[in-house]
Amino acid sequence: MIVLDEITKIYDKEPVFKNLSLRVDRGDMAFITGPSGAGKTTLLKLIYGAERPDKGEIIVGEWHVTKLKQKKIPLLRQEIGIVFQDFRLLPNKTVFDNVALALTAHKLSPAAIRETVNNVLRDIILLHRKNSYPLNLSGGEQQRVVIARAMVAKPKIILADEPTGNMDRENANTIMGLFKDINAKGTTVMIVTHNEELYQGTGHRVFHINNKIVEREFAG
């Protein structure tokens, strides 16, 4: 469950959100749309505690994000898989090591880590690239590495910021298929996208953000 209640967020005296409210139930898949600069990325940052709202409350699962102590933030983030819009891949690490980075603080043996990472790379059709470095991959491949890293720790929630932005339709469909699969297994999925095709006809909740609020909420 993700709840944003009457959120106000101000950057440099300029509010991005003004009393924005939004709710996604546990196990749901939801989409966030809106023009560039509407605050979609900021919204996700508020959810995983990288930004703090100036007003309002945020609840993620059993976490009271707005009241969370610094020390607890990594515990919240261990339950969230994030597909960053700007990828945040480390150029000096291989695809395998980039994905494994998300398992650093998890109590897994090196053998278990190897198996888990290999499995997720296989799912996303990147196993043959596991020893490559990110800069030697295409934009779409890099994006898939980011998605693999977000999924590898089997989080309760996936937040994906324009996850198919650099992909052709075929690749986008493959990725959406993966999101559907993990959502079917109970993971809450929140996808920021410009691409109407991703949600049209799915019946999933769509939040259209504009003018500092959720301007429109409808079933896709």
Partner: protein, 294 residues
Amino acid sequence: MNIVRYSLKTALKSIWQEKWINFLTILSISIAMSVIGIFAILIMNIDSAVQHWTRNFGVVVYLYDEITEEEKLKLKERFDSDEDISEVSFTSREDALQDVRRALGGNAVIMDDFNVNPLPSSFSLTLRGDLLKPDIVMEKAQIINAFKGVEDVQYGEKWLMALHEFSRALKTGALAVCAAIFIATTFITYNTIKIFFYRRKDEIETMKLLGTTRSYIRLPFLIEGFVIGFFGGLLSSGTIFALHSFLTSGAASFMPAIDSYLSVMPVAIYILIPAAGALMSVMGSLIAVGKIRY
């Protein structure tokens, strides 16, 4: 991954990857710690060196001319049984006169002008070396001065005072140097770890976003700091050991009798230096990594 395993792996990898910076850091620390070690040994041995120089420090107890034989004997008994006094010798008035005559040599004729012997009899006492602190000697002199038959007690008060001041200043100075170098050791590691931390900044930022706890981020740097400080200290222990062996083996014939000055050379120092190096170095790393905010 298990935090200890992960941190060791990450630290060792970094130590190997940056082996030259690490080597130079270890070298710097070993030089700093060697200076600390040498000063520490100096501090520990100042007292014994002072005792060495003042081995023949004496107190002279002058007696009244009217002193009875009985009182004299009583005094001698008291001095003999006093554990603080290592040597007692008596100089009679006649002996004193002889001494003066001998000292004057050919000019001894001037002594003939005296009808009576003007010299008092005296006891010469040698105090135990470890008692040679100005206040202790003064107290002792006052006690002896109050004994029956004692006219005056004399000792090298000014000299003793100066020596004491000198050894105290030496100790304070050496201690200050040690403290300064200790802080420098922390700073040496701080610098190196800060560089490593900045090199991994992107990785650390990403790890923070991926939910990596603080201890996973910190511990590899602390281990690296520990290793650097420990090996720096170990190298310094080796240096000091070699230096000590050289100075006491007689190979350094230009500096004789060093052994008698180095009465205190605890073996523990060889363990203490690496331990201190590691401790200061870990502190440097801790400061370099700083507060981790999410």
